[in-house]
Symmetry: D2
Subunit: 218 residues, 4 copies
Amino acid sequence: MADAKTTTAAPMGPASRAYGGTHEVKPLPFDPAKLKGLSEKLLTSHHDNNYAGAVKRLNLIEQQLGQMPKDAAPYQLGALKREELIATNSMILHEFYFGNLGGDGRASGPILPLLAGAYGSLATWEQEVRQTGLSLGGGSGWVIVSYSPHERAVHTYWSADHTQNLAWGMPLLVMDMYEHAYAIDYGANAKSYIDAFFENLNWDAVNQRAEQARAGVT
Amino acid sequence: MADAKTTTAAPMGPASRAYGGTHEVKPLPFDPAKLKGLSEKLLTSHHDNNYAGAVKRLNLIEQQLGQMPKDAAPYQLGALKREELIATNSMILHEFYFGNLGGDGRASGPILPLLAGAYGSLATWEQEVRQTGLSLGGGSGWVIVSYSPHERAVHTYWSADHTQNLAWGMPLLVMDMYEHAYAIDYGANAKSYIDAFFENLNWDAVNQRAEQARAGVT
Amino acid sequence: MADAKTTTAAPMGPASRAYGGTHEVKPLPFDPAKLKGLSEKLLTSHHDNNYAGAVKRLNLIEQQLGQMPKDAAPYQLGALKREELIATNSMILHEFYFGNLGGDGRASGPILPLLAGAYGSLATWEQEVRQTGLSLGGGSGWVIVSYSPHERAVHTYWSADHTQNLAWGMPLLVMDMYEHAYAIDYGANAKSYIDAFFENLNWDAVNQRAEQARAGVT
Amino acid sequence: MADAKTTTAAPMGPASRAYGGTHEVKPLPFDPAKLKGLSEKLLTSHHDNNYAGAVKRLNLIEQQLGQMPKDAAPYQLGALKREELIATNSMILHEFYFGNLGGDGRASGPILPLLAGAYGSLATWEQEVRQTGLSLGGGSGWVIVSYSPHERAVHTYWSADHTQNLAWGMPLLVMDMYEHAYAIDYGANAKSYIDAFFENLNWDAVNQRAEQARAGVT
């Protein structure tokens, strides 16, 4: 990019989108008093503290990135870019997570043959999701079922913190395994939380995302 | 998913796609003898060892996942799922990386106003990419410019290893900052490598990906 | 080590200490019913599930390492060695953590001038500990005040999971910031947990460790 | 620590040791022109760029920590504390690493029965070190043989970046697996680098550390 060095850089700042810091907290897409085995207290705390906290933090981070001096040491920028990735993904993954709760847990729709096709059977897929979730119990992480354009297939991924994700894809079904997703209701019992997660899973939302993914990047 | 426990699971194994282990190594999409400032020795080693090694490892991992006993401890599955994520992303990111090399480095096309719009100016965007890259010098990582459907915009992300990526998006421009991307030619001089990267950047490939991303997930 | 390749390796297995898997769970060193602001339910769950779970897992991992085939792919060994590090450190850090709870929170003893000397004042030190703790709220991690033989001084360290620790040193004062350390009692309120931690801090234990550290590695 | 809040904090700053930023780069403890299979160019670059760079960065970070405003958001402190841990451990581990090079590679001394005792045989121990090293090839990390006071034994640990270490212990034998430790000489051939590492291993240094460790923390 030969001309870049002779271009006068516009001042970094709120005018540019990347440094805008204008993300907004979305409300829970369901009535938190009505889920089975996940209390209103837990769900509201999860939304108001962990999710909304990430969104507000991301706004601050973006604005700080816009004010980073050009002569800052690279590690100063890198440290803030890492915080940006954490907060960005926490925002995105929590929106997918809440977006696939509030259902009746009855598996249905065109996603089912895709899962069964990829894993040999639906039960094999669910076994892997549940065991991957248990492997994250007592710590932090996510289990993420994504559409992978590279595979042209659905696939389940392990993540031990917000930063860890498939390099190219769209989450279809997201299960939060941070302890804030269950400790208030279940203490250390990650297994019962996973049961509750599946009982409240909104398969319609999962199917809509799968439809969107297949219509898009392929 | 109430019925899952009563379903008889098909045996996990090579018949299912997720455990197939059939990924194939793609050749370099350019003549490695013809890049400016990146030697054939470096590029061939990078491709044959780091990229191809990840593909072959992924195939083994997928097959081992298919043979994981159902009563394995969760940490055994988790450890292998982590290796799967590492190898999967290494494969994907290396393909994007090699795919956006081999060009003449002249910035052009519809991606430019998108970058300038997001960051205030093209120079500001490039400054952030370069400084983020420098922050990863002497270690491992990637700088990844992605299309983010959540933002409906392009954005630059920091990653300190293969596992760290935007939770939902498509890489458009990928710069490898693992030391194997430059040490053979540049030793510890990450700055000169970044110069060479930009001089060989294939903006046509970046523009094609941006077009694909915008036509897809939005 | 020229002779190693011609030496006949003894079979790896339980006979060797590194693969022994004989770690034992230590009981809580205080009456969990008697702490201020940390419930018996929380403390017992923390001990019985998170700490004891790590010890038991470590025993399994060590035995599996002893049975690892010599021709296993390196990533298979690496994945298990990572699990070993996680479980080993979880065991060690939890023992330090429980070991410095159960006190009356009144700061005293020869550690105080060491902390004040390193940080300018005790209040500055405590401010950094508390803020570092808050930075880990909603996720996982530890705040660890260690004796560093390299510094010949005490110093406070950030850790975002069990694996992250000072490369050479002895923990003197350990605060668990995994959500399982507080969510049952405080939900997302990490700040109130940190208050409770300091109110139950056993400064005698901290002083004994400091004495041991100074008598030892210097 | 009831009184802390009423104490007037001294201003954080260079006067306090923790924020002093006065670490000094130590020279290589051997003549880099005389090692077998590790070039002077490689060793000098490794020392001058990677090790010395970490020391200089640590000094900047400590001073920035001393100037952190008290009302900074916790993530701002946490991000800098993470950089501090990275730079601190890079400094320490590189000093151990260079300190155990420059020898003739002939295994000898009281460390040998400790290693053989822990692992069943010296060859078993070396096999694990070598395979753990290979598992880190193509990325970053360390293989660290430590004295663990918790075990009252020596043990080998995996680390994928500077932050990952045994929670309580003293490194006795440290092998750098970052690509900057070998790529200049060996490209992607981590196996040949590990051979060269063992051929230049200074067992006297390892034995001296083991003696120091046993005399100290036990």
